[in-house]
Amino acid sequence: METFKLKIDDRQINAGGGDTVLQAALKAGIYIPNLCYDPRLAPYGGCRMCIVEIEGTRGFPAACTTRASDGMVVKTYGPQLDRLRLDTLELLLSDHPTDCLTCPGNQRCELQKVASFLGYNQRSLKPRKSDHPIDDSNPFFNLDRNYCVLCARCVRTCDEVTGINAIELINRGDESRVSTFAGSRLAESECRSCGECMVSCPVGAIHAKNSPVATEETATICPYCGVGCGIYLGTRQGKIVSVRGNEASPSNRGSLCVKGRFGINEFVHHSERLKSPRVKKEGGFESAEWEEALRIAGDKLSGYKPEEVAVIASAKATNEDNYVLQKFTRAVLGTNNIDHCARL
């Protein structure tokens, strides 16, 4: 890839062929306030937070929609830029509630980040009250338009990432809002509940119904279909509380479906999980210690000829599990009678 140098705030920065000014800056650790930018989506230029000054360019181009180029000289802050950004933020916040503590986006909110970065501290424009009903029809996430900043990340994700196009912006101007076709609730729409929109939402407008903040994350692989999506299991106090796609995984590049994102913690922590071996006795199953269960299984299996036993392995278990199982079948039971549901 072609690389070149540009100057941002008097620092020499290396950038690559397709980088926008915003991407080049973020890669170099220079934060430019932004809201509608999502690396998975085409540049949008709607929030106007990332405006910069570029030598030789008229006005204040948005860093997210401007391609970086060799020798470019960029300024990301300055008295005028700071004022313009604050004005834009002020406008945005005049359409936004300020009940941050009770907002589901609290602490994860990119608007908060922008506001604190810019040192916003006083409201001067008249706020607009909005009372859109919350769409809570989806079992996993809510759509609360009162928090929406119309960055369109959700609708662009539903188009550019998933191709489902369950949601779109409707109406115009400050009547714009996120809507499903014909304005139905999410549960009655084309939505497939993958939650990609929720992941992209920079504020609390699309938020998980029940999602405490994880304290630790573990990179692993989704246990459902054969795509093998890379996931991070977020845990807290020994329980899985969140799942997020691993952007670095070449198989899914951060995307997930409804099962992977929302369908894991409940089965892992389900009360019906088998907790101890069980042995069938006269009156039905009884819990047993490992020693007893293994003895019954081992001793009984020892009593059969190789051609009298068979093993069914698992397409859900790990490679190591399956390896040991087939080794056991062949080396201990003495038979090749092993198969699994690959054919089914």
Binding site: P43, Y44, G45, G46, C47, R48, I51, G59, F60, P61, A62, T65, T66, R67, R83, L84, D87, T88, L91, L92, S94, D95, S124, L125, K126, R128, L150, A152, E168, L169, N171, R172, G173, D174, E175, S176
Partner: protein
């Protein structure tokens, strides 16, 4: 397989109209005429001809732009000049036909003017104040020919520019356009030749061509009128552009609220197809091109070129940042050249008559003419075309006949909702791209509204700001929310409850919106407010809540 023999026949046919063997009647059948009752007049003409047993040919024609005299009906008697009659009514038209055609009384009392000469007490139409300062290039055929008759257009020099272009290298054509100094008539005034050159340079194919006919400024009707009156002038321009740039497919993006223009465009496209001016191998030249009509749903922002292209692609019509410019990556990511209706209409004449003829008109940087929809408190309202560089004063007083009812002029609003209000003191301003911008307004697509002493500048600013706010697409924050906030503050002044510091708030908010908005719509949205504060600050101060003023004084 040129058009020569066809043109010969057409000239013959057109001469038969101008020097007829039997009376020719022209009825101004444009939307403006229809609005003033011409349909009923047309019916009355048919009835009158029958009643009086007159053998005459009734033609429809487009719009001469003399709105204050609609409906207009022209009569040409054998050996006589074409006489235009003003404000014709269904009740008096039968009498007029009888009086003039049968009894040879040209009824000077009903006449507006005779074409090219004084005739029996009827003044020369083109010596009327409204007409004599105009230079009609884009509007050369408007109100003259029957827009649904291909022969009329051909007879008046139509497609000569195109045929000439076919004998030239594309680069030569572009050089000619550059030499003419033609600039975009949609408002921004970008040099047309340079735009074509950029698009031609791209090695990416196919290339597209667009005619922006999404005229949306309130009170503006130049494009509609032109398309209704002379669709071929625009289509010929497109054909020349496509050939010069190397485009294979063209679109006319026109708002669906212009049904008559759409109908006449469709008829014109049929003519073109029939005469090998569209499709494969046009006129045997090896050049192929097609034009499709795309109807917009009346969103103002779709007149913005990037939003317009999204709309043609079938997506939500919202603007996106340039670069890339359409010439690099436009429609479906392909190089695209987009020009406005009036720009296209100028192109054939430049080719036909040469850049030197064209750039005789205008100023150093703004060549040619510009059409304006002159409206408001002015005596002669209508569609005019004047050379660039004419003063506002001349337009208002000489062409427009001054302010109605002898009132004092207060301001002239130009450039539509994105434009600004210029006060009496600026009346000496010449109308060209640079001067208007310097004064805080814009050329825009050509709206011009005259305001008198009774007009409130706050209400005027509010009207345009409210329009923009309503039409903001909502994509970017400053335009979406900023226009609403400005409107709310403006309302406090209109109600006499303004806060003293809010004049500054309006100025600074306006400045931010101009500087940070994504597209031209938002970047110009605060203009009506900013220019009125600039030139009419006193009216804002009058809107300050007196209690607050007293409190301030007290401090």
């Amino acid at each position: 397989m040129g058009l020569n023999s066809l043109r010969k026949e057409s000239i013959h046919e057109w001469n038969e109209v101008l020097n007829p063997s039997r009376p020719q009647i022209f009825v101004g059948m444009s939307t403006c005429g229809e609005a003033s009752g011409v349909v009923a007049v047309n019916k009355a003409i048919q009835d009158g001809l029958e009643e009086h047993g007159i053998d005459a040919v009734v033609n429809k024609t487009g719009c001469l732009g003399i709105c204050y005299c609609e409906p207009l009906v022209d009569i040409i008697k054998p050996g006589k000049p074409r006489i235009s009659y003003r404000s014709v009514e269904k009740t008096n038209v039968s009498g007029l036909l009888k009086d003039y055609i049968l009894d040879d009384n040209p009824r000077p009392d009903l006449a507006l003017g005779a074409w090219g000469q004084e005739f029996k007490g009827i003044p020369d139409l083109f010596e009327l104040d409204f007409m004599k300062f105009q230079v009609r290039i884009a509007l050369r055929n408007a109100g003259v020919i029957n827009p649904e008759n291909f022969s009329h257009y051909l007879a008046r020099g139509g497609y000569q520019g195109f045929e000439k272009a076919l004998d030239m290298d594309p680069e030569e054509i572009i050089a000619e356009i550059e030499k003419a100094g033609l600039r975009g008539r949609g408002g921004a005034g970008f040099p047309t030749g340079m735009k074509w050159k950029l698009c031609r340079k791209s090695r990416n194919f196919p290339k597209y061509l667009i005619c922006n006919a999404d005229e949306g400024d309130p009170g503006a009707f130049m494009d509609r009128s032109l398309l209704e009156s002379d669709p071929h002038s625009v289509l010929e321009g497109m054909l020349i552009g496509a050939y010069a740039i190397g485009c294979s497919r063209g679109f006319i993006y026109i708002r669906a609220e212009y049904p008559l223009a759409i109908k006449r465009l469709k008829i014109a496209l049929e003519h073109m197809k029939r005469h090998h001016l569209l499709g494969e191998n046009i006129l045997g030249s090896g050049f192929s091109f097609d034009i499709e009509i795309r109807e917009g749903a009346g969103a103002f922002v779709c007149g913005e070129e990037t939003a317009l292209m999204k709309s043609i692609e079938g997506q939500r019509g919202t603007p996106y940042s340039r670069p890339p410019f359409p010439a690099q990556a436009g429609l479906w990511g392909k190089p695209t050249n987009i020009n406005n209706v009036e720009t296209w209409a100028n192109v054939p004449v430049i080719l036909e008559k040469g850049a030197g003829w064209f750039n005789r008109h205008g100023t150093e940087k703004s060549k040619g003419t510009k059409t304006f929809a002159l409206a408001g408190k002015v005596n002669n309202t209508g569609l005019i075309e004047v050379p660039m560089g004419m003063t506002l004063e001349k337009i208002v007083y000489a062409i427009g006949g001054g302010v109605c009812d002898g009132k004092e002029l207060k301001a002239v609003q130009t450039g539509g909702p994105a434009g600004g209000c210029l006060p009496l003191a600026k009346l000496g301003l010449t109308v060209d791209y640079e001067s208007l911008a310097e004064a805080g307004s814009i050329m825009g697509s050509g709206g011009m509204i005259v305001l008198d002493e009774d007009d409130s500048m706050l209400e005027t600013a509010r009207y345009f700001l409210a329009f923009i706010q309503e039409e903001s697409c909502g994509k970017c924050v400053p335009c979406r929310t900023g226009t609403r906030q400005m409107l709310a503050i403006l309302d406090t002044f209109i109600k006499g409850r303004g806060k003293p510091q809010d004049i500054e708030t309006l100025l600074s908010l306006g400045d931010s919106i101009k500087k940070t908005s994504l597209c031209g719509l938002g970047q110009a949205a605060p203009n009506p407010v900013l220019t009125t504060i600039n030139y009419f600050r006193g009216e804002y101060e009058k809107g300050i809540n007196p209690k607050l003023l007293r409190a301030k004084a007290h401090q």
